[in-house]
């Protein structure tokens, strides 16, 4: 791998990974906000108003960080991956542009009302804005996942050659837009990513609310928030089992090399085992120190243990992804997924038996659980993206052929160091702001705002 390619891949990985801290939280928190503000409109209990206002502020910080870190993403296909951009622009660019037109304007516009419109619009208008912002956040996930899924399982295009200068250059062009949008992996990967985002939002709410209960602050508010968080978490963690399974089956059909790497399956075999954990020795081509359940992988893929699962032996060495990193990230993600189910069930049982507010051990677990969805999100993406290697567009264009031709190592070092520092700075500032908001706590709004004013009028009457 050339220096420019290695540095560019590193730069994309770092910027994408840092950026992806924020959008899943916005998407997940959007759902929680709809529930909280909906409860407020329904019950008129000001507890819900305080809670909504508090979480809207947190949402605002997260959203701002997502915007700041996301600007780079829109342009760096062109900067470092110009050959890729020329090859896919006809297909990939449309999805990116659709994201801008359909999602970004919606989100950023109504966010203003969400954050600053409390005293300027009617409560129902504010609630509609909340719904539209959450909807916009989901819509942006749709388009970016369409674009990324097309890279994984290209469909609805054909390859056209044309003359540029004195050479013949190929590129992908759209034949059928809806086949591009609903390519074989779009639905699986979209649902899996969005539900992952719901879990991220739910555990953020659970973590901060559990912390308040442990510190004996905002008990009323935090109990309500924890109930919402638990309901989302229990639904989402079970749904994630279904979308995860469906994704893996899809990968086994469409990108068998990726599944083989994720399971460290070097030989095509019937009765293929599923590893609970292990360490892949890529030289000896086997999984060491692991525990495997015989036949389970075959059964999960085909619902029949006697059917074969494709191994890496079906692929030429130059067409195989790195195995151990894909294996480890895949298994970390699955382990965390199982933990989500366990924690949600325990939480619901404690809630049902009325022990939740006194089970300090569990509340402490919730406080730290905020990290888990982030680890699962990141390892999930590592599985998806490293597992696609050596292709940037699966089967069509190799990552090594996709790089910009004009780049020098010096300029990529410059941008890589600069942006690593900036993203670290943004992250530190984000933690600092979040910490301040948590310390400030939930503000009592009974004395200000038009809601309160309306109430005062009512009380006087």
């Amino acid at each position: 791998m050339g220096e420019v390619e290695l540095l560019s891949r590193l730069q994309f990985a770092i910027t994408a990974a840092f950026h992806f801290i924020y959008p899943p939280m916005s998407i997940g928190l959007g759902i929680a906000l709809i529930i909280m503000e909906g409860m407020y409109l329904k019950t008129k209990d000001k507890k819900w108003e305080d809670l909504t206002r508090f979480w809207v502020k947190i949402f605002g910080i997260i959203f701002a960080m997502g915007v700041a870190s996301g600007i780079v993403m829109e342009f760096q296909f062109g900067t470092n991956w110009a050959t890729y951009s020329r090859f896919v622009g006809d297909v990939f660019g449309s999805a990116l542009a659709a994201e801008g037109i359909f999602a970004f304007f919606l989100e950023s516009g109504f966010l203003a009302i969400l954050l600053f419109g409390w005293n300027k619009v009617k409560p129902t208008t504010h609630f509609i804005s909340t719904i539209l912002v959450a909807f916009g956040a989901h819509l942006s996930a749709v388009w970016i996942l369409v674009a990324n899924s097309w890279q994984q399982t290209p469909a609805g295009h054909h390859i056209v050659t044309r003359q540029v200068g004195d050479t013949i250059v190929a590129r992908a062009e759209i034949v059928d837009f809806w086949q591009v949008v609903f390519n074989p992996s779009t639905i699986d990967r979209l649902t899996h990513t969005i539900i992952g985002a719901w879990l991220t939002g739910a555990f953020l709410v659970l973590s901060i609310s559990a912390y308040y209960i442990l510190k004996n602050r905002h008990l009323e508010h935090s109990k309500s928030a924890i109930k919402i968080g638990l309901i989302i978490a229990v639904i989402a963690s079970f749904l994630q089992l279904i979308t995860g399974h469906s994704s893996a089956v899809g990968v086994s059909k469409n990108q068998p090399a990726k599944l083989a790497a994720a399971e460290g399956l070097f030989e095509t075999q019937t009765n293929a085992p599923l590893h609970i954990f292990g360490w892949v020795d890529e030289k000896e081509q086997k999984v060491k120190y692991g525990i495997a359940i015989p036949g389970l992988l075959s059964w999960l893929v085909h619902f029949d243990a006697s059917k074969p699962v494709t191994g890496l032996d079906k692929f030429a060495p130059e067409d195989r992804p790195p195995v151990n990193i894909v294996f480890q990230s895949f298994h970390i993600m699955i382990a965390i997924g199982m933990l989500f189910i366990l924690m949600s069930i325990v939480g619901i049982i404690l809630w049902a038996t009325n022990k939740l507010w006194t089970a300090r051990w569990f509340l402490w677990i919730l406080v730290f659980s905020v990290l888990l969805p982030h680890i699962a999100n990141q390892t999930g993406w590592i599985t998806a993206e490293v597992g696609r290697q050596p292709w940037i567009v699966y089967g069509l264009l190799r990552t090594s052929d996709a790089i910009s031709k004009t780049l020098t190592p010096g300029s990529v070092w410059f941008s890589l160091i600069l942006f690593t520092l900036i993203y670290l700075l943004i992250f530190v500032l984000f933690l600092f702001l979040l910490d301040r908001k948590i310390k400030q706590g939930i503000v009592d709004h009974s004395t200000d705002g038009i809601y309160a004013k309306q109430k005062i009028v009512v009380e006087k009457n």
Partner: protein, 338 residues
């Protein structure tokens, strides 16, 4: 009119939307350090607070539309202008972060540092965008594979520095007029004084750029010679600029702002007419230029994108109008969120 021309115009509209909307945010950022009082600075920040983020979306969508409609331009320009583009991204990020963090602590030093970052970033964003425009006007060295063959310093010339400064002046004037709309009382009196100065600064830059362009980049005027009716654009542009001090004098600030918006739109129209049908002219070797034909996506994609635009743009205009309507009027003390 063919699809390629339609997309040339639509991308022009997106970038014009960006220049008009984020232009005043940038102008407010440039003027930010001219007031020393913390309350005044907060009023400035809150004047753009609810809208700057949505305004920046025009640039991001413009980038996405460029990728989709003219992928060769997206690839050539962003990989070729690598260092310049990353500098632009850095200052865009810093502006966003500075706006967000500035008022989160009481410390004077904290606020002063973020204020400086906000203002410097605003100057640099405008300047770098102007330098980019200047380079598109004079052309950049391309090879037969559409690849840029210069380096960072190729992009910096007296002409492109001048277009950079002109852009700074334009947005400064635009921002000052916007602030007149959003402020009242003593602060508005201060801001009103800036309007005249910024208009003078801009007119000096504008006239200089025009003269130098006429002498050194004569191909920019070719379409005006061929179709004299197009002279209506520079005429409207000058009328719009001349109208600004008049409206300010009559205290019709809304009309002054609309005139300023119109002059930005007219300037971009001049630029677009001048370069058409090129998107990135090659200099030397004009035969390697990227045009709306050799840089475009397939007709199928341009059609699909047009449908997306026809569905999406009315919504975008409706949201934008609704948001600006909601946050119309002066910035009030109780609305200070930043």
């Amino acid at each position: 009119m063919d699809l390629n021309t339609i997309w040339f115009i639509l991308i022009g509209v997106l970038f014009a939307g960006y220049a008009i909307l984020d232009g005043f945010d940038l102008g407010v950022g440039m003027l930010h350090l001219l007031v020393k009082n913390d309350l005044h600075r907060r009023i400035f920040l809150n004047a753009i607070g609810p809208v700057w983020d949505g305004n920046e979306v025009w640039l991001i969508t413009g980038g996405g539309a460029l990728f989709a409609a003219f992928p060769e331009v997206y690839a050539t320009v962003f990989s070729g202008f690598y260092i310049a583009l990353f500098l632009l991204l850095v200052v865009l990020v810093f502006r966003a972060v500075a706006i967000e963090f500035r008022s989160k602590r009481e410390s004077t030093r904290w606020r002063q540092n973020w204020d400086t970052a906000f203002s410097v970033a605003s100057y640099l964003i405008a300047f770098l965008l102007g330098v980019a425009m200047g380079n598109i006007i004079v052309g950049v060295p391309l090879n037969k594979f559409h690849e840029f063959v210069g380096n960072f310093w190729t992009l910096i010339s007296p002409y492109t520095v001048l277009t950079g400064i002109t852009t700074v002046a334009l947005f400064m004037m635009h921002g000052a007029i916007y602030l007149v709309l959003k402020t009242e009382g003593e602060l508005q009196t201060i801001v009103k004084r800036w309007v005249n100065n910024t208009i003078i600064f801009f007119v000096i830059c504008y006239v200089s750029t025009t003269m130098i362009t006429l002498v050194y980049v004569p191909h920019m005027t070719q379409h005006f010679k061929d179709f004299p009716i197009l002279f209506i654009v520079p005429l409207l542009n000058m009328l719009a600029i001349a109208n600004i001090p008049r409206e300010i004098y009559h205290q019709r600030y809304g009309w002054a702002f609309i005139s300023s918006c119109a002059s930005i739109a007219a300037l971009l129209a001049l630029f677009a007419i001048g370069i058409f049908p090129n998107l990135v002219p090659s200099n030397p070797n004009p035969e390697y230029s990227l045009t709306i034909y050799n840089a475009a996506s397939s007709q199928k994609t341009l059609t699909i994108m047009l449908i997306i635009a026809i569905i999406g743009v009315p919504f975008v205009l409706a949201y934008t109008t609704a948001i600006y309507w909601t946050f119309r009027g002066k910035v009030k003390m109780e609305d200070l969120n930043y």
